[in-house]
């Protein structure tokens, strides 16, 4: 079978690749390797000869019953088409790019791939950080220092003072105001029933009972009892609590909930 072909030295060397088809990264890579065997500048490459080399390789692979990936076969079909177009005189009726355009683009692709290979090799050949040159081995970290400034206005001051001075005017909490109280037992019940539905971290304030937004007294009471309930549940190992920083919202989640 091979005897039918013109056995140039290039073709013979190309045959050697048949054994090691796994070493290629796709048909373009294989074409580039074949092209190199032409031992000419890629710009002057004979795309026709290259197509023949490639088709020969595919034939040989078939003869050896090697299984070729589909993209190798697609390339073979296309090269067979290109070869026939290159051999025939141009058909003025034919639409689309000319055979020469197609051949030129293939040559360009090969040249570009080759150029990128060379560039990659040059890049990797450069001196590298941590191998040839080094950064400071003992960096001295910049420390973040938090400077807290407190702010308060005269109005804050006056309001605070006014509150103190008028405190005596208040009557003690009446029994009928008890409805504004959310007890720890209630908070515990509420949290225990809600926590099962919580998948991830949830802000503690979302556990407050309905209507506590509108009633400041209830809200205050519920905030305290819900917080106490969450502590109690954390103690029992039912929930986990976290707060990213002072004054940030307190978050709660079921113990053993997804841990990311």
């Amino acid at each position: 079978m091979l005897e039918n072909h013109n056995r140039t030295p290039e073709v013979i060397s190309a045959e050697a690749f048949v054994v090691d088809v796994d070493g290629f990264e796709g048909p373009l890579d294989m074409l580039l390797t074949l092209a190199r065997t032409q031992k000419v500048d890629l710009r002057k490459i004979s795309v026709l000869a290259l197509a023949e080399q490639y088709l020969l390789f595919v034939d040989e692979a078939k003869r050896l019953r090697l299984e070729l990936a589909a993209d190798y076969l697609v390339m073979a079909a296309w090269l067979a088409y290109l070869k026939s177009r290159l051999l025939l005189p141009p058909d003025p009726e034919e639409e689309g790019p000319s055979a020469d355009d197609l051949a030129a683009h293939l040559a360009f692709q090969l040249e570009r791939l080759e150029a990128m290979r060379t560039a990659a090799a040059r890049l990797m050949g450069r001196d590298q950080l941590g191998r040839d040159f080094f950064a400071r081995g003992l960096p001295e970290d910049v420390q973040r220092r938090c400077v807290i400034t407190y702010k308060a206005s005269v109005l804050d001051l006056m309001q605070a003072y006014a509150v103190i001075r008028t405190r005596g005017n208040f009557t003690p909490l009446h029994l009928d105001e008890r409805e504004s109280i959310f007890t720890m037992e209630q908070a515990l019940d509420r949290m225990k029933s809600l926590i099962g539905t919580v998948i991830d971290w949830e802000e503690l304030k979302n556990f407050l009972p309905d209507g506590s937004g509108a009633d400041p007294k209830l809200r205050r009471s519920a905030t305290a009892s819900t917080f106490a309930a969450s502590l109690e549940m954390a103690k029992e190992g039912l929930v986990e609590l976290r707060q990213t920083a002072a004054f940030e919202p307190i978050q709660v989640r079921r113990k053993g909930a997804s841990d990311g």
């Binding site: 407190y150 702010k151 400041p216 004054f247």
Partner: protein, 213 residues
């Protein structure tokens, strides 16, 4: 230079200095003279090169320093402040602090016992320390009463901060009432219930954030 046993000549001293400079820079720990010499070409005199290097960095932003029996580069001590970045954070003063401050401003000079009497709750040392640290209050004269308690007064910094010319500029009770600040309904977050000492006020604060819309 000791070249007795080396076949090749040691590199010039300036080059040795350069080598040590690179080594010490890249090393993750101080290197002793022995360690340095083990890595230098034969016949090098680390001591002399180190002394040159040390001189070169004298007065620079980094200095060559002896750490134990090793050598290492370190930031010049006077530049330590450059190794810190300041993160500014403004916080609201806690209610305990603002109330204490208000009492001092209105009643100065005032002793701690008097502040507690007016507030109706005990005043933590931390609250007073915070105000002292802010330089909004300072110690006044001691009282001539048994125990000679210290008193607190507000400072010029306080007056500047609050835009007051003197503490007498603070509005009186009547003006507060006229301004509607002494309504019978207390503002939210100023509910009674301070019976406990304000040692726990920090915790309460957390909730205030949520209560105040």
């Amino acid at each position: 230079m000791d070249e007795t046993e080396s076949l090749f000549e040691a590199p010039p001293l300036a080059e040795q200095e350069r080598m040590i400079e690179g080594m010490l820079f890249a090393s993750s720990e101080p290197l002793s003279k022995r360690q340095i010499e083990a890595r230098l070409p034969q016949g090098c005199d680390a001591a002399e090169a180190l002394s040159l290097l040390s001189k070169r960095y004298q007065g620079r932003g980094v200095e060559l320093r002896k750490v134990g029996d090793g050598w290492a580069f370190r930031t010049a001590p006077d530049l330590g402040y450059l190794m810190q970045t300041e993160v500014k954070e403004a916080r609201k003063l806690s209610r305990a602090a603002i109330e204490t401050l208000a009492i001092i401003a209105y009643h100065q000079p005032v002793s701690r016992a008097e502040i507690e009497e007016i507030r109706g709750v005990s005043v933590s040392r931390g609250t007073l320390d915070q105000l002292l640290e802010l330089e909004w209050i300072k110690l006044g004269r001691r009282r001539n009463t048994p125990g000679r308690p210290v008193t607190f007064i507000v400072t010029q910094t306080f007056l500047d901060q609050f835009g007051l010319e003197s503490s007498r500029d603070l509005p009186g009770i009547k003006e507060l009432r006229d301004a509607g600040l002494l309504d019978n309904r207390p503002p939210p977050g100023a509910m009674p219930g301070h019976e406990a000492s304000d040692e726990n006020d920090d915790q309460v604060e957390m909730f205030e954030e949520e209560v105040d819309p």
